[in-house]
Amino acid sequence: MKLLIYLIKIIQKLGCKAEYFCVSIGQLLKISLVSLSEALTPPFYAEPFLKQLIFVGFNSLPVVGVTALFTGAALALQIFSGGSRFNAETVVPSIVAIGMTRELGPVLCGLIVAGRLSSSIAAEIGSMKVTEQLDALKSLSVSPIRYLVTPRLASSVICLPILTLISDIIGILGGLVIGITSLQFSLLVYTEYTIKFLEMSDIYSGLIKSVAFGIIISLSGCYFGFTSKGGAAGVGKSTTSAVITASMLILASNYLLTAFMFQK
């Protein structure tokens, strides 16, 4: 009898978790669809959008740039060290370029921006929710999704590919600097090998991924902001959840997109 009660409790808990999961997916879908439909229909709020462009794009540049520079440099050292085991040191420029454009550029850029942006969006919208500012928006005939989500979503979708492209270039430059200064490559040879083996599809694939990451980052932040509960502690929890969820979804979607684009 005790075992039966215990089993029923477990099933109840699983049921609650499943319900919570389905409700969350439903809410996330609703936010995504409403935001998308409102992004395509007037009125458009230029000022919040421009503010977000500066915040997401321009303000993320230093951290994305530094990350890409050191990653490119470290990648060059690692590939040189690994490649020298089978006399393939000359692959350093091409592998750095392909690695940065296909994988490290978009993924690291996505993860860095997720840490910065998802948390900031969740904290801002979450604190607006607990201080009734979202209700105030409704009472002023302004849709919270149109005013808060759409500018963030649009700016992330625009900025992430640009940041990724910059990250690719800086990462390749980081490899180039190390290649010339520590690995006995000449500028001409390193550049020639980079250009020779790098294809446009490598760059495009990274940029396509970054668009998906932009959507994940902004929607994750907005979703956890809108579902914040219980004052400052609730906002703190939402912030953490937003970053963790965005990071995990970025890594999972990166695998799926890679498999979709490159698996033959």
Partner: protein, 249 residues
């Protein structure tokens, strides 16, 4: 009250449930919004359902039964805009937008709402409203965080009266204020109601607010109205809830 429902906000037998708990149980009343202005004050303990009622009227919560009508038309998604254009709301914690300056907060409805105006005109109008509620023009360019609690409340009132609404909602207008500032806010609300010929629905547990601005008083307990009467009758009422409320106050 007009018999055809014109010029009034009618709440008819609404019931609201949140997290499987009955919050509002059979709530009905009318607020006149025609030339004979009306000021209703809803009092009651914390958790009695007062703010939930306001949120139902604003369309933030959806009652599972009953209706809310404005000028005899149910307030639905498609005509919510018409109703929202006629109301001004002051939230409990002022709910000013932190990232915007005070004048942008006051002029928000014209900056981002359906009825847009040139920015220069909005700022001028916002400054006029700020002066009307006793704030200096200097405060217009400040951010809400730079203002005191009383000043924030005044800015929130200025935002509510910006579009010269026919109905004003106040949720705990004196909460968190010292007695002197609270008294000033009460008199400011009283003046605004009579000057703008707007009707008001005020949620409060401050008896001074009731004495200053109310025409009619509704006492709410556990989601129900347990006493309805005129302000002048409140002190002489033998209702145990009223006595209890006044004694606690």
């Amino acid at each position: 009250m007009s018999g055809n429902g014109k010029g009034k906000l009618s709440i008819d037998r609404i019931k609201l449930s949140l997290d499987n708990q009955l919050i509002l149980n059979d709530i009905s009343f009318d607020l006149n919004t025609n030339d004979n202005t009306d000021s209703i004050t809803i009092i009651g303990r914390s958790g009695a359902g007062k703010s939930a009622l306001l949120k139902c009227i604003l369309g933030i919560y959806y009652p599972f039964s009953g209706s809310i009508k404005f000028n005899n038309q149910p307030i639905l998604k498609r005509n919510k805009e018409i109703f929202f254009n006629k109301l001004g709301m002051v939230f409990q914690n002022s709910a000013l937008f932190d990232s915007l300056s005070v004048w942008e907060n006051v002029g928000f409805k014209y900056l981002y709402g359906p009825n847009k105006m040139p920015k220069k005109n909005i700022k001028k109008l916002a400054e006029e409203k700020l002066e009307r509620v006793g704030l200096s023009i200097r405060s217009a360019n400040q951010f809400p965080i730079e203002l005191s609690g009383g000043m924030q409340k005044r800015a929130a009132i200025a935002r509510a009266i910006m579009t010269e609404p026919k109905i004003l909602f106040f949720d705990e207008p004196t909460a968190g204020l010292d007695p002197i500032t609270a008294r000033k806010i009460n008199y400011l609300i009283k003046d605004l109601i009579s000057d703008s010929k707007a009707s008001a629905l005020t949620i409060t547990h401050d008896i001074n607010t009731v004495n200053t601005i109310a025409d009619r008083v509704f006492l709410m307990n556990e989601g129900k109205f347990v006493w309805i009467g005129c302000r002048k009758n409140i002190k002489t009422s033998s209702n145990e809830y009223i006595k209890d409320f006044l004694n606690t106050e």
